[in-house]
Symmetry: D2
Subunit: 141 residues, 4 copies
């Protein structure tokens, strides 16, 4: 599990007085980015190394609204990893209070957009993520 | 079913050269807004009439990337309607080509955020949406 | 002068109940894009032809707030054109009512980011824009 | 002068491979928010206290592009303060490297949108900002 803290920006609110719902996916991406960095593989290096992990499917459930200036945490988990797919789950929290939960599904593709094998393409990253996936799953039990 | 056409904005792209995934939810909202307007109940009137339909859950599946300047269509369907919940489904298309499909789930709440009964609160809108829901379901069969 | 019409999106509002100020620059870009298209040179072709017109400076004055669902018009003018620089001015209007005015300054650069000469690089576009610049200036007098 | 550090988000990039220009104004707002917080008056308290500081005019000059994942700093200065107007200036930096400079002009208004006198409405905040304005001006000399 990985944690990042950030503040809600004024631009992220809407006229209902709460954060507009699509912004949570931007926060999930921040969570993923910091998780990759923590493993020693910042996402900017992926693209330099000739592969990318485009988003294929997402979902989010909104429990309580996030508000302007809230100090939030995004918790990110490697939910499932295969050589050609990644799945992450996320919690958005304000302190101990859970505001939203989401999941994103990613393909692993090369520069021309064709599926590629992460285990072969980046064995170091594969090992690191696989290790986290295992421990995450254990925690969930 | 309701259709709206729009062009992809430069700001909606990211450095992968395609539209950033969270923007599709903004387009879904455009589809909902035009569907409501077509029924004679623009969304801005909802808030004036003392109720709102906040987003409780969303999902989206990305099939092919949308590109800058693409002329896209969002098709919006009333997938399910109860007095206290609404569900919409969406297709994002470039011509006949399906790029993404999504679904949004909404609560119906009053000004203080408590659930309210759409059938009682806005019987005219209820009737209109219920009529579309039925016809949509028939079309899907 | 070129006109484009569009509706304010819910996501563009903030908790003050009006459009967040940075969005006007996204609308200005829409105005520029349609102006280029009208001249027969859609902006997507610029990048294919090996040059770009990055933004070097912008300003905007806000007179009256734009609101959710407003049907707005962006009017775009070629304010000044040299072989290596472009300047555009913009009006954001709700009907006849002027909501904001802005200006953007652009460099003309090649793929490696070095300044390039529009007159040589794209003489057809240069002629078209130069013709509009002149006529615009006359209208302003 | 006040400093805040943040990372560039993937969503903030565009297909030119750099940060889209309108995002800098969102960063300026983050700078203002932290400056107010440092004076003991978080911006969320302004709205609770019955006044707001809407943006009336903005400008920005872009010197070098900000890139995905860059660790940036926004430096914020109180450039000018009168009882009914505020002006801030901003530097966006990557380490010591200056990427952009901007300025925003704000009115001070009450809940009904009418101009109000900050010196009377919030004398504590007025004193604090006035003190910073002076020192900022000295530094600039």
């Amino acid at each position: 599990m990985h944690k990042v803290q950030f503040r809600v920006r004024y631009q992220e609110t809407d006229q209902m007085g709460v954060v507009y719902h699509s912004n949570y996916f931007i926060w999930f991406e921040m969570g993923r980015a910091e998780l990759f960095r923590d493993q020693g593989f910042p996402y900017r290096n992926f693209e330099k190394a000739g592969f990318a992990v485009p988003v294929k499917e997402v979902n989010c459930t909104y429990l309580k609204p996030a508000l302007y200036d809230d100090l939030l945490t995004v918790e990110t988990f490697v939910a499932k990893l295969t050589p050609v797919r990644m799945e992450f789950t996320y919690n958005i929290k304000r302190g101990a209070e859970l505001l939203a939960q989401g999941r994103t599904f990613h393909a692993i593709v090369d520069k021309s957009g064709r599926p590629c094998n992460l285990k072969k393409k980046a064995p170091g990253l594969w090992e690191k993520l696989k290790a986290i996936e295992t421990s995450t799953t254990k925690e969930e039990k």
